[in-house]
């Protein structure tokens, strides 16, 4: 048959079975999404479909048939004839996958040089046609562009064009939209869907259920190397059967939490903050916000919307061109650093990358002890306080002796939160605190943040591009775009009746409802 047909695929590395008895079929014009958390074995399945498993892996299958060719016992030469011609790969990070020294046109022509006898002018024509079918604006002139001259979305289109150019029967896309902003993501997903509708089979590997919902006909959920559930996309999302599928779907639902209305004293007030960088223009433009004790304010926006600069202004790392920040009764920014230093511990930052808080040479315990010192804990009490701090974030106190590199991502983020709280701050600024983590780990970290807030009354400013995260914990949200606040209000209201079209577009992109209109 045409399309791809795999039966009983098994990949074993050493003693470990990383892909366990996986069977899947994708017909031309059909899209299958393989969904799972990191380490579930999704990528290994994709690599096995391309004959690109590592040397140390043993691959067995009853059948691996690609476009009618049996490849179960194929050698490298046989795979090479198929790869790029009948089955093509679109990888995650277009910046890494495109040769920085080669023009886009040459890059796209390459599969033709290998797999076809087309003459040079023909190759050029076909490459440009592929770029056009990847909906690259201004394709003719973009043929001569270098990867760095293109935006992330356009680079992804170039990569898709290089997969399309040989008219393969099947495309495997490994996290094709993960590195992109929500609105750009939507456009790439629409493009992939149109390619599928034109008759190509597509396997998309993703951890993003919303992407799968918008694109796929069928969804296969992978856990520990095995497919635990597979079925039509709409059914899988509406009525998941397997416990793990339910877990993933639950973690993904955008559901504003019902949080009690309570207004305490404002602890952080910013008025009319504006910051201009040479070359980048006005990155933060007239932003005002108020943060109350015991409450959480969410800041939503895409990359380049000024979220991180806003955080740095609030932290007193950058000085605003106009406007001011007050921390409690204190004039915080602009203010001389010498005046600010004694109060620094009152506002703490949790980075996106939880490694950031820790000196790589120090043990976790020593780093937390340093923060405890800043919070005024005397030296002799610190060892006991480190244990309490780790217990507070539900970590084993024995981890205090480990180096940051020896913890998992989730453990590190918990430790980073413990360190930030060890200084006993009034305000916690969290810059994309969970975006590097798996969905199920995200849920536990967010629950932890809520509990800690109830216990300590710390005010939180949570920055995220991910509306699900904000929905889960924020009392109020600000939506930022190009440095400006386009919408602000109580979370439940903003999610139920978004007023600004940009907010609506973000909500649609995150929705699991495949019929939600994408942003224009």
């Amino acid at each position: 048959m045409s399309g791809i047909d795999v039966r009983g695929l098994r990949v074993v590395i050493g003693e470990r079975t990383v892909v366990d008895d996986v069977s899947l079929r994708v017909a031309p014009g059909e899209c299958l999404a393989i969904v799972g958390e990191s380490g579930a074995g999704k990528s290994m399945i994709a690599h096995a479909l391309l004959g690109l498993t590592p040397d140390v892996a043993t691959v067995t299958a009853r059948r691996i048939s690609v476009d009618g060719i049996e490849l179960r016992d194929a050698d490298e030469a046989a795979w090479r004839a198929v790869r790029g011609a009948r089955i093509a790969l679109v990888s995650q990070d277009a910046l890494v996958s495109l040769d920085p020294f080669r023009r886009i046109g040459r890059e796209i022509e390459e599969p033709l040089e290998i797999h076809s006898r087309a003459s040079a002018p023909d190759r050029k024509r076909l490459a440009q046609a592929a770029l056009e079918s990847a909906a690259m604006p201004d394709a003719a002139s973009r043929m001569r562009a270098y990867p760095h001259e293109l935006s992330g979305g356009l680079r992804q289109r170039a990569l898709i064009a290089s997969a399309l150019v040989t008219a393969p029967a099947l495309i495997i896309a490994d996290e094709p939209t993960t590195a992109l902003d929500a609105t750009v993501q939507q456009r790439i997903l629409q493009l992939l869907r149109s390619i599928v509708d034109a008759g190509t089979g597509l396997v998309i590997i993703t951890h993003d259920l919303a992407a799968a919902a918008h694109l796929a006909d069928r969804i296969a959920v992978v856990q520990a190397g095995a497919i635990v559930e597979c079925g039509p996309a709409a059914r899988m999302l509406a009525a998941p059967q397997h416990a793990h599928t339910r877990e993933l779907v639950d973690a993904w639902r955008v559901r504003p939490a019902n949080r009690p209305e309570r207004v305490d004293a404002p602890v952080l007030v910013a008025e009319g903050l504006t910051k201009t960088f040479a070359g980048a223009g006005r990155v933060v433009d007239d932003v005002s916000l108020t943060l109350h004790r015991g409450a959480t304010l969410g800041v939503a926006g895409e990359s380049g919307s000024g979220k991180t600069t806003l955080a740095r202004l609030l932290m007193g790392i950058e000085t605003p061109d106009a406007g001011a920040v007050r921390l409690g009764e204190m004039r915080w920014n602009p203010a001389p650093e010498s005046a600010r230093r004694p109060a620094r511990r009152r506002i703490q930052l949790v980075h996106q990358n939880p490694r950031a808080a820790f000196d790589p040479r120090w043990s976790i315990g020593r780093s937390i002890a340093e923060a405890l010192g800043a919070g005024g804990v005397p030296r002799r009490d610190r060892a006991a306080a480190v244990t309490r701090a780790l217990e507070q974030v539900e970590l084993d106190p024995a981890l205090a002796r480990r180096r940051p590199g020896q913890l998992s991502g989730g453990q590190r983020q918990r430790a980073a939160i413990a360190r930030a709280l060890a200084a006993r701050p009034d305000v916690l600024v969290l810059d994309e605190p969970v975006s590097a983590l798996d969905a199920s780990v995200q849920v536990t970290i967010l629950a932890l943040l809520e509990r800690l807030q109830r216990e300590t009354g710390v005010a939180m400013l949570l920055i995220s591009h991910d509306l699900r995260v904000l929905a889960a914990v924020a009392d109020d949200v600000l939506v930022m775009r190009e440095g400006r606040v386009v919408e602000a209000g109580a979370t439940a209201r903003v999610f139920a009746e978004p007023r600004h079209p940009f907010t609506r577009a973000l909500l649609d992109a995150a929705s699991l409802d495949a019929d939600a209109p994408g942003p224009g």
């Binding site: 892996a57 790029g84 620094r344 990358n353 490694r355 820790f358 000196d359």
Partner: protein, 299 residues
Amino acid sequence: MSARGMELARDSRGTPRRGMRRTQPRGGARTLPARMGLVLASVVLLVIMGMAIAPALFTGFDPLATNLPAALSPPSIEHPFGTDQTGRDVYARVVYGARSSMAIGIGAAGGAALAGLLLGILVGLAPRPVGTAAMRGVDVVLAFPEFLLALVVVAILGPGAFTIALAVTLAAIPVYIRLARAHTVTLRQAEHVESAMLLGIPRAIVVARHVVPAVAGSVSVLATIGVGSAIIASAGLSFLGLGPTEPTPEWGLMMSGGRNVLGQAWWIAVFPGLTVMATVISLSVLGRALRRRAEGRAT
């Protein structure tokens, strides 16, 4: 896509890895031969250090005692490295020469590393324009070979054992400044350093806690290899007659003394030369192993 597929599947060394990173043991030597090389290098260095500390344990001969009847005897059981023009035992002179070579090597590399560390951190912490200007100066000095710089210093200060040590030290400093400064600039922007500042800890303390130890680590690794270069440089200067004078046992000086009789008595120059080689290669092997370990720790 096969060509791109292969590109994707190559790691930085260009060996195919087919979509996955091969696991590497953390730090240290990776393969069995490399590990044996490391063991061998450590043994050589231990022996040389032993010679430097207690030379009498390694030979019963006096390095200065002449014995004209036995002059220019080839290697034998009694004189494993043979004897020189005045009948002195070459092996004993190699053993006693270890002290001055190792002292100059360790002293020069250590002194240069320390000076480079301090200057490099200062330059790295200075405001950008100041740091950049200072580095242009360092670049100018770096453009000259280390040995040439040392030669210039000796030319100014006059020959002698101490001048050589000083000359080799001064010539080696710029490399350490460059390394220390680069590492400091990276750390200065590192998020964990920023995190410490955000706790309200004064800058000087943050630098002392989080910057100096990390930079000192990478500088000390380079200094291990630097000991080797310092030994070569000092032996080279002695060879040119700018260092200690006869009858002091010194490797470079011994090579110089044997060079005119290389045809009849090759052992006089060759054995000190081999000793310098073995020492420097061993230091280099050890230094690389240390660097791999340090890199393994940093990531």
